[in-house]
């Protein structure tokens, strides 16, 4: 595990070194590695695929311009996430979250995510439930959403999240818990999750 981390870190440093010497393929590799991640992060922050594409493009231009500053104190992944989130915050910070009810487009209510033994109808309903989960996530305040997305969608550890967000681990723990708490309440209210017994 430690050896794999060291190898990944060395690869990060090699990419940056090649970039400093003008090797465009180094940036292309960075782009390929992180395009989907950055796009999905931007999508969760912006809630709109067109905005997410614009944000992704701007983030990578910044990455290209400032990659030479990367000194390897963190992983390249952490650094790129930080660049991406800072940029998303500065662009989206003043926007209000969308004021959408957690119902389907026709106002009909659907329910339940969980059971894996489902037929086609149930799977279709689960698709609607997934959309409701996405909407509930989009309605979270930005600071909770960032923490939940990094943890539950990007599978980052608390210490990595703390580094990306520039806050203490205790704050990360609190934001993740409060974000999940709000999601649980919203999804229960919308009957996407069943009431706990």
């Amino acid at each position: 595990m430690a050896a794999a981390t060291a190898t990944a870190h060395q690869r990060d440093l090699d990419l940056v070194e090649r970039h400093r010497y003008g090797d465009r393929e180094a940036f292309a590799e960075v782009y390929r590695d992180y395009e989907q991640t950055v796009f999905n992060l931007a999508l969760r922050m912006a809630g709109d695929p067109f905005d997410a594409a614009d944000l992704t493009q701007e983030v990578f231009l910044r990455v290209y311009r400032h990659l030479g500053k990367f000194r390897g104190r963190s992983s390249l992944k952490t650094w790129i996430f930080r660049v991406a989130l800072n940029h998303c915050r500065s662009r989206l910070g003043r926007r209000r979250p969308p004021d959408q009810p957690l119902t389907g487009p026709d106002g009909e209510e659907e329910r339940q995510i969980a059971d894996p033994q489902r037929g086609p109808e149930e799977r279709a309903m689960a698709g609607d439930a997934a959309r409701r989960v996405e909407r509930a996530l989009a309605l979270l305040p930005l600071e909770f959403r960032e923490a939940v997305v990094l943890r539950d969608l990007e599978d980052m550890a608390y210490d990595e999240i703390a580094e990306v967000l520039g806050v203490r681990i205790g704050t990360v723990r609190s934001r993740i818990a409060r974000g999940r708490q709000r999601l649980r309440d919203a999804l229960l209210e919308d009957e996407v999750l069943e009431e706990e017994k």
Partner: protein, 230 residues
Amino acid sequence: MERVAHLDDELLSAYLDGELSPQRSESVEAHLASCGGCRARLDGLRRVVLSLSRLERASPPPLLAQRVERRVTLFDRESGFVERLESRLQGLRLDSPLVVTFAVVLALATIVFLFSHGVANRRGDVSLKLATPEAAHGLLDELEGVEIEDRWLQRDGGQWVQEGTAERAAESVAWESERGRAVRRDHPWLDDLLTLSDADAVRFVSDGGEVLLLTRAGDGGPAEPELEEP
């Protein structure tokens, strides 16, 4: 072993993520074994995490990579020598004798260049003259592919003022002077220019006080001007 009273969601959430110490986890498990209420709340959090993990990852638009490539190419082509050099040198050790020597030589060369060209790059100064709408349109053609950096756009020794913050794609270009105003719409390079500038209005001011104003569509931008030849 530490006995936990009732478990709050923060503790349960961290437990769920395996972010507690072994001792703390043990005490949480001991409590859960005897408290149905806390088990139910943990289960609720677990199902939230499960539902989030089932969200599909979206694929980026197919042409996004090309758009980024184009922006990067523009940056390399249009950014100044010093900026490119700075970009490349970022991260190198500044106490290296080679870097120090190079910095001194570069500083001297810059001073010599500024004096020899008589260029005073003061804010608002530009070397371009926008005397007529035709000249403005000529400038529009010239500007193709120019990238605007954070606050200033530099081109051929001139500096142009950039103002505002931005939302979306450009829709029109207005040129104004004491002698009139002209508007052109749908310039293919406008999108690039304003996307890169992060601005909703870009204002180019000549040293004669004439103005070239680039605007975006959307809230807060200047009203769309009408074509009005002088």
